[in-house]
């Protein structure tokens, strides 16, 4: 019998880590960026395109799939992997973040949350037990404890929310039944370092196979985010993967890898694509700008993605002006590729003990481009 989940730390450079997380649907090499497929599809790209651009892990959202098409339907269809035809590892969130941030109305008590569907206004209730049941129906490889994401700078709110998050983490840990899913506990605590330390200690004490860090990149400053990560990094055990939820940009990913984070997810690449913007390591291009009308160059000369290997900025701008769906597909492919290959490169330089030079080059090049080419920022 094999142990379905295990994490190997392969190399560290200062606090940055390169590792591998084994799952029943394949290995996740870390650091890793997971594109987001909220409704069981990464918007505008096929699973084959995702695979070809190098994606290993993808994320899907429990709140959305619970409401539509329903987790029981997904289960009847053989689970999320078969339903959406993604043969690699999948991670689902707990639904907590969406329930707290998206729902029109919601009532929270110590047992759970009652909320209104954004689709049809119907009322629903999530408890820690319900979140796990839904995630077991969906069948992702990595699932999340149900937590409360509080406004990051409200101390009293964070204290109350943290008590709940900890109690709910324990309930999730107890109720989880499937052995082919790894349940991650979530560290909360806003920008308050004592709360973060307390949360990391408590969550770590429960014995999860991995840890998520929630409630960051939600409005606090970069300095506050980094300070919170610093204390969490010191507190969490080294032998488990660390997943920073909802991050991010190329520079955030680098800064957080430097603070010990292994896993990332973010809607940024696909959302920017639908708003006509291309991500590069040195900035963003909004391809709707008239300056690209006759531009025969690819988005990024140094990029090996399908889009940059085959299409000009002028063509993508034409697709945008003509309201053609292909623009979202081509930009999504490029943007996801950019973040995935950034984490691939970070992994390689950590393994090669060359992280410092890579990071200083990255920020120097970004500053140089920002100074010389204003057209690259939107």
């Amino acid at each position: 019998m094999t142990i379905p989940f295990s994490f190997e730390l392969q190399a560290c450079q200062d606090r940055a880590r390169a590792g591998v997380f084994h799952t029943p649907h394949g290995d996740v090499l870390t650091p890793v960026f997971a594109p987001v497929g909220t409704q069981a599809t990464v918007k505008a790209v096929t699973p084959t395109q995702l695979q070809e651009l190098g994606a290993s892990l993808i994320l899907s959202n429990t709140y959305h799939l619970y409401l539509r098409p329903g987790d029981e339907l997904v289960s009847d269809m053989g689970g999320l992997h078969l339903f959406m035809n993604w043969t690699g590892p999948i991670l689902t969130d707990s639904g907590g973040f969406q329930v707290f941030s998206l729902a029109d109305t919601r009532t929270i008590d110590d047992d759970g949350v009652t909320f209104k569907s954004h689709i049809d206004g119907s009322m629903h209730r999530f408890t820690p037990e319900k979140s796990i049941a839904v995630q077991e129906n969906l069948g992702a490889d990595i699932i999340m404890a149900f937590d409360e994401c509080a406004p990051p700078t409200d101390r009293a709110y964070n204290e109350r929310a943290l008590a709940r998050t900890h109690a709910w983490a324990e309930r999730c840990f107890r109720v989880k039944a499937r052995t082919d899913q790894a349940l991650f506990g979530i560290v909360q605590g806003g920008i308050f370092l004592d709360l973060r330390k307390n949360s990391a200690e408590y969550i770590a004490s429960l014995g999860f196979p991995g840890h998520a860090i929630g409630g960051l990149s939600v409005g606090e400053t970069k300095a506050e985010m980094h300070a919170a990560l610093d204390i969490v990094d010191l507190t969490l055990p080294n032998d488990k993967p660390r997943y920073l939820m909802g991050v991010g940009t190329p520079e955030d990913i680098i800064n957080c890898v430097l603070r010990g984070v292994d896993m990332f997810d973010c809607v940024l690449p696909t959302r920017l694509a639908r708003h006509h913007a291309a991500l590069t390591r040195t900035g963003r291009l909004n391809l709707i700008n008239a300056t690209y009308t006759h531009d025969i160059h690819p988005i990024d000369e140094g990029c090996f993605c399908y889009t940059c290997q085959h299409f000009s900025r002028a063509y993508i701008r034409h697709l945008i002006m003509a309201k053609e769906m292909l623009s979202a597909t081509l930009l999504s492919i490029h943007n996801i590729y950019t973040l995935i290959h950034l984490t691939d490169d970070l992994r390689q330089v950590i393994l090669d003990n060359k992280l410092d030079g890579f990071v200083s080059n990255f920020f120097e090049e970004k500053a140089r481009v920002a100074n010389t080419d204003q057209s690259k920022t939107i």
Copy 2:
């Protein structure tokens, strides 16, 4: 020196033909169905996906590309093949059909047509010479003479329009300069068999390397369309390819192959896809129907397209309900594949002298399904 264009008739069964049209960007094996990429993209699919599903020839629209991004820009970018990254053969229409049917206002005279852009209301003028100049800038392999598409049942209108179409065909023939493009003349004449015969004779006399048949499938009955094709088939020379513009459905394609047609194009497969409908040889499925909510089967059990090999009806219905772009991509792939593989099969049974059995099986199976499975029709 090689001759860039030539047509070989490889086999005939009754009036149905299997052949090969050699172009500078590759061979077109006929009968062939060309998907439509109006604005230099077949909607919702990448060139790679098109290639993988078996497309050889694609069509793009001169009117749309002239207005946006402009034929000169396309020329500056190296032509349509490089601009949209389609390495196979491309066909452009003359712009005539759109100018007559889509433009808000247009004024026609014997020299050409003045029309208003549907994009910004600006005024433009197409003449036969201008249409050829635009198509030479676009750079497709197969280009079309500028013609007037008249309402099919108005005799007096068709007589006037035909005189113009013939005069314009001669002007197009004279002005064409590029030797790496094949200019097709277009037979018009509405439903009037004497006009069709006269038109086929006149157009054939000019010595084009191929002939298009326009002004059909625009509101006349099937019997009228078939009668017009019958007379054109008898009149046009056998040694040139015949292209029926804007057709069609599986049954229309079969009925027209039986009447000597070699080439087809139609927006049907991609337009249906954006309206949630799947084409099969036996009917259509509208995947938005609740009956498919739990349907674990592919659209078509016997289909080998990417969509049918990897996704269930339930998943595609979920994508439609969730307004995810991927539904249009997956349905477009399936629908285009269906028509392309129908023409591939027709070609094979003509080569094998087994067309009769194939055609009777097709219509028997279609009738059987229509009688037993009402859910398959929309």
